[in-house]
Symmetry: D3
Subunit: 144 residues, 6 copies
C-alpha cells in the first residue's frame, strides 16, 4: 500500500514509536508486522501515534481506562502486555488489583477470574525472566 507510506504516515509512525517506548513496549505486535506491514503501520501510527499520543488525558489515565476496557471484554489474548505497560507507567500492583475488583463488578466475576489468571501469568513470567537474566540465559515470553 504505497499511499499509506506517505511522508505523513511516517510522522505518525514515529510519534507512535515514541509513545510505545514511554510505555516500555517497543518490541510488540511483531506477529502483526509479519502478517501485514500495513496493519502494523496502522497500529503504531494510528493507534499509538494518533490516539494514545493525544493530549487531553494523561498517559497513566489512558492506560487505566484501556486496562479496564480489556478486563471488561475478557478476550483470550491482547491484555497481557497492558499489565506490563501499566507497571512501567507507575501504576502499582495494588492499583491493578483494585481495577480488577472494580471492573469485575461491572462486567462479571469471570472477567475478574480471567484477569487474575492473566496477571498471575505475567508476574510469573517476570520472575522467570529475572532468573534467566541472572543466569545469563535468553528469555522469550510466551504471552506477548
Amino acid at each position: 500500500m504505497k499511499k499509506a507510506k506517505s511522508r505523513d504516515y511516517d510522522a505518525r509512525f514515529e510519534r507512535g514509536m515514541k509513545v510505545l517506548k514511554r510505555m516500555g513496549r517497543g518490541k510488540l505486535m511483531l506477529n502483526q508486522k509479519a502478517l501485514s506491514e500495513d496493519m502494523y503501520d496502522m497500529s503504531v501510527g494510528h493507534l499509538f501515534g494518533d490516539v494514545w499520543g493525544r493530549p487531553g488525558l494523561s498517559l497513566r489515565d489512558r492506560q487505566l481506562v484501556t486496562l479496564a476496557a480489556n478486563i471488561a471484554m475478557a478476550r483470550p489474548t491482547g491484555n497481557h502486555s497492558h499489565y506490563l505497560s501499566s507497571m512501567h507507567l507507575g501504576i502499582t500492583q495494588r492499583e491493578i488489583i483494585e481495577v480488577m475488583i472494580q471492573v469485575g463488578h461491572y462486567t462479571g466475576w469471570p472477567t475478574l477470574s480471567n484477569a487474575v489468571r492473566q496477571f498471575t501469568e505475567i508476574l510469573e513470567e517476570q520472575k522467570e525472566a529475572e532468573k534467566a537474566k541472572k543466569l545469563g540465559k535468553p528469555f522469550k515470553s510466551k504471552l506477548l
Copy 2:
C-alpha cells in the same frame, strides 16, 4: 430476607450511601428498590459500600475505569448516570470525550457512537433541567 438486615449490613449500607452522596447520586436505583429491597440493599451496601468504598484507588480513578468498562460493554442502559457522577467528581467533558476515543479503539467504533449518543442525551437533559429550574418547574429525568 431478614438475614441481610443484620447490624453489619446496615453499616455497609450506610457506607454505601456516603459514597453515593460524594458521587452526587443519592437518589438512583429506585426502580431496583421498588422491585426488590434485597437487591437495592446489595447494590448500595456491597457495590457502593464494599467495592467503591475500598481504599487503594482514588474515587476519581474508580469512576474513570467504571466509565471505561461501561462504554466498552455498550449496554442499552446503566451508563447514563456515570457521565453525571464523572462530572460531579471533577472529570472534565474533554476528559470524558478522550475516554470515549481511547476505549472506542479497544472495543469498536459503534461503542464510541453509542457513548456519544448517551453523553449527548445527558448533556441535553441537563440543559432542560436548568431551564425547568429557572422557571420553577419540576423536572424528571427519562434517562436515570
Copy 3:
C-alpha cells in the same frame, strides 16, 4: 424458498407452535414473519420445534437457562417476552429476581440494572393491559 415448505418442515412448525402455546407466546415474532416467512418458519420450526421441544430438560429449566443467557447478553430487545413466558410456566417473580441477582454477579451489575428495567417495563405493561381489559379497551404491547 419452496424447499423449506416440505412436508417435514410443516411437522416441525406444528411442533414449534405447540411449544409456543404451552409457553403462552403464540402470537410473537410477527415482525419476523412480516420481513421474511423463511426466517419465521425457522424460528418456529427449528428453534421452538426442534430445540425447545427436545426431551432431556424440562420446559421450566429450558426457560430458566434462556432467561439467564438473555440477562447475561443484555441485548436491547428480545428478552421482554421471556419474563412473560417464565411467569406463564410457573416461575415466580421472586425466582426471576433471584436469577437476576445470580446472573448479574457473573455478567456485571449493569446487566442486573438492564434486567430490572426490562422486567419492570413488563410488569407495568401487564397492569395497563389489565386496566384496558376491565374498561373493554384494546391493548397493544410496545415491548413485544
Copy 4:
C-alpha cells in the same frame, strides 16, 4: 487539537468524505461533530478515509462484513445507517435478510431479532420519508 488539522489530515478527511458519498451517507455522525470536532475528523479521516478507503477488498464486501460485525454485537445504536448504505451499494433486501440468518446462527437468535427490529424500523422510516417527500413536507430521521 491543532496537530490533527495538518495538511495531511485534510487529505484523509477528503478521502473519507468521498467514500461516505459513494455509500450515500454524507450527512451522518453529526452528533459526533457537535460533541467533538476531533472525534468527527477521526471518524471521517481515519475510519472512512484510511480504513473503508483501502484497496484489497471491494466496498460491497467491506459493507457486508461491517453489517455482519454489527449484527453480531447487537449494540443498541449504530447499525441502522448500515442497512441504508448496504442498499445504496446494491446489496438486496433478500441478501440482508440472509446475512441476518447466517450471522444469527453464530451469535444467537436474539441478535437476529434485534436485527429484524432495526431493519424493520429503517424500512418503515423510508416509507414515511417518501410519503413526506410526496407531500412536500420535511422529514427528519429518528434513527440516524
Copy 5:
C-alpha cells in the same frame, strides 16, 4: 484491609465456605488468594456466602443459570469448574448437554463449540484423575 476482617465478614466467609463445600469446590480460587486476600475473601464471603447462599432459588437452579450465563459469555477461563459442581449437585451429563444446545441457540454456535471443548476437557481430566488415583499417583488439574 483490616475493615473487611470484621466479625461480620468472617460470618459471611464461613457461610460461603459451607456453600462451596456443598458444591464440591472447597479448594478453588487459590490463585485469587495468592494475588489478593481481599479479593478471595470477597469471592468466598460475598459471591458464595451472600449470593449463592441466598434463599428463594434452589442451589441446583442457581447452578443451572450460572452455567448458562457462563456458556453464553464464552470466556476463555472460569467455566470449567462449573461443569464439575453441576455434576456434583446432581445435574446429569445429558442435562448439561441440553443446556449447551439451548443456550447455544441464544448466544451462537461458537459458544456451543466452546462449551463442548471445555466440557470435554473436564471429562478427560476426570478420567486421568481416576487413573492416577488407582495408581496411587498425585493428580493436579490444569484447568481449574
Copy 6:
C-alpha cells in the same frame, strides 16, 4: 433421540455434508459427535444443511460474513477452521487481512490482535502439515 433420526433429518444431514465438503471441512466437529450425536446431527443438518445451504447469498459471501461475525466475537475457539474454509473457497490471504482490519475497527483492536494470532497459528500449522506430508509423516491439528 429417535425423533431426530427421521427420514427428513437424514436428508438435511446429507445436504449439510455436501456443503461441508464444498468448504473443505468434512472431518470437523468430531468432539461434538463424541459428546452428543444429536448435537452433531443438528450442527451438520441444521447449521450446514439448512442455513449454509440456503439460496439467496453465495457460499463465499456466507463465509465472509461468518468470518466477520467470529472475528467480532473473539471467542477463544471456533474460528480457526473458518480461515481454512475461507481459503478453500477462494478468499485470498490479502482479503482475509482486510476483513480483520475492517471488522477490527467495529469491534476493537484486541479483536484484530486475536484474529492475527489465530490466523498466524493456522498458517504455521499449514506449513507443518506440508512438511509432515513431504516426509510421509502423519499430522494432527491442535487447533481444529
